[in-house]
């Protein structure tokens, strides 16, 4: 469904993605992990072209996303993206956050968009907050709205860029619960996260990145119990140390 072919990306002299090739299948749940600065956020942001790439190709259902002249908005409207910092629109109500894009891009009537948004808010447990403004919500609630906002475009794939990293610890669970719900529905998910418990439980595959390279790809069980690459061993040892948050 999503295919990387020899993707390279530079920030000035810094080689952020090094010959990345990878295929993500439809319905697959892939967790990308690795130390900070390893390129995992860059990787996920190239999928909907928030970051340009310097060489290689990334395709969605066989269509080159980074090709010149493609309608990038068309691509993006079929790829849900959830940010670390939620990025809800503060001047719009929760409901309006979820209806803006469907009305503007899918030509939905306001009433249809409203019904659909309410159903999605119900699904993330926030239907009662439809008329609230983002500033009136907790971080966990804001992130759940952000997920509903992305789902309102009915994307076949959802990308999560450290969705729980900006949350107070007690709010992480509610967001992961919503994400688990998406996995149950068979949606394709690519998740950059430090929540190793989540990875172990719901991921089909774990990609371990360091210094712009995908060093290890494995099923969660194999990855957590018998990591192959020395850096992956080191990473897992680091996050398991009693003073770091891990699983």
């Amino acid at each position: 469904m999503i295919q990387f072919d020899n993707v390279n990306k530079w920030y000035g002299n810094y080689h952020a993605l090094v010959d990345v090739s990878e295929t993500i299948a439809q319905g697959e749940v892939v967790v990308v992990c690795g130390p900070s600065g390893s390129g995992k956020s860059t990787l996920i942001r190239t999928i909907n072209r928030l970051e340009p790439i310097d060489s290689g190709t990334i395709s969605l259902h066989g269509a080159d996303i980074h090709a010149r002249g493609v309608d990038v908005n068309q691509f993006r409207s079929h790829i849900g993206f959830v940010f670390q910092q939620f990025n809800l629109f503060p001047h719009l109500s929760v409901l309006q956050n979820c209806t803006l894009a469907p009305v503007a891009l899918r030509g939905l009537k306001p009433a249809q968009a409203r019904d659909k948004a309410l159903a999605l808010l119900e699904r993330v447990g926030l239907a009662a907050k439809a008329d609230a403004f983002p500033s009136e919500l907790s971080g966990g609630q804001q992130q759940r709205v952000a997920i509903a906002r992305a789902l309102a475009m009915e994307p076949p794939v959802m990308l999560f860029d450290e969705p729980t990293s900006a949350l107070d610890p007690e709010m992480v669970g509610e967001v992961l619960m919503v994400m688990r719900d998406l996995v149950r529905d068979g949606m394709t998910l690519v998740v950059v996260t430090h929540e190793m418990g989540f990875a172990r439980e719901v991921a089909h595959r774990v990609l371990f990145m360091d210094q712009g390279r995908i060093l290890e790809r494995a099923e969660p069980h194999a990855f957590f119990n018998a990591p192959q690459h020395p850096r992956a061993k080191q990473f897992l040892a680091d996050i398991r140390s009693p003073f770091a948050r891990g699983d």
Partner: protein, 244 residues
């Protein structure tokens, strides 16, 4: 002072109208209102051009902004009054000349306010709008500009107040706005300059003060729902310390 008001109040308010052209305070208010309504959209358009991803749009407008910002308003008025007719061949009368000069001058200043407002909106806002599939223009129109305009409101009001006061420069090209009329009254009663110009000052003050009151109420209304409610910082919440 009372007798000056009693004799000249109508002249002060409307000039020679209805026996001559409209003038006085009415003309000042009309000129200011028209300038603002025309300059604001022009300023937003120029401000957007200043942040446009297209160089062909961004560079010429940036040049224009630097040029107009680098000359005094008086010069712009002189250009419009003396220079423009020599190119177009059409002699413009004072009101439209003054209106053009004010709109051009203020649009450029507003453009910089708009640009600063847009740049001040968190980058993630634009990004998340684009990530939903909204194009540059829609992301600006529905997500960035509404937030930018809110934060720009105090600066906009500042510029608007300037515009109101700048209408007095119409005096220089013989536009019969309220300062011109006040000068006329002064030559007629010529021993009461202090009173006449005090009245004039009060008039401008009242105009600008009402504008800032309107803006204040507007700002309060805009912020009522969307501003973050004061949240209690975690550290002073009355909880038991789990580490204790």
């Amino acid at each position: 002072m009372i007798d000056i008001i009693q004799t000249y109040w109508l002249y002060f308010l409307v000039g020679q109208f209805p026996n001559g052209p409209l003038g006085g305070l009415a003309l000042t208010v009309l000129l200011a209102a028209l300038s603002l309504t025309l300059a604001l959209p022009a300023g937003i358009a120029l401000g957007l051009a200043r942040v446009s991803p297209f160089r062909a749009i961004r560079w010429p407008i940036t040049g224009l902004v630097y040029l107009v910002r680098g000359v005094p308003l008086l010069m712009v008025i002189f250009w419009a009054y003396f220079f423009l007719p020599t190119i177009t061949g059409v002699k413009t009368e004072q009101f439209s000349t003054m209106l053009m000069a004010l709109v051009a001058f203020n649009a450029v200043y507003l453009a910089e306010i708009v640009r600063a407002g847009i740049v001040g909106v968190a980058r993630g806002q634009f990004e998340s709008a684009r990530a939903l599939g909204l194009g540059w223009w829609r992301a600006m129109r529905w997500v960035v500009l509404p937030q930018a305009l809110r934060s720009m409101l105090p600066s906009l009001v500042n510029q608007f107040a300037s515009t109101i006061k700048d209408t007095s420069l119409g005096y220089i090209i013989g536009l019969t706005e309220v300062s011109f009329i006040a000068a006329q009254i002064n030559t007629q009663v010529f021993t009461h300059a202090t009173q006449v110009y005090l009245l004039l000052a009060l008039t401008y003050f009242t105009l600008c003060y009402s504008l800032s009151r309107v803006a204040y109420v507007l700002e309060k209304r805009l912020n009522r729902r969307t501003a973050a409610p004061a949240r209690v910082p975690l550290s002073i919440e009355p909880t038991t310390n789990p580490a204790a």
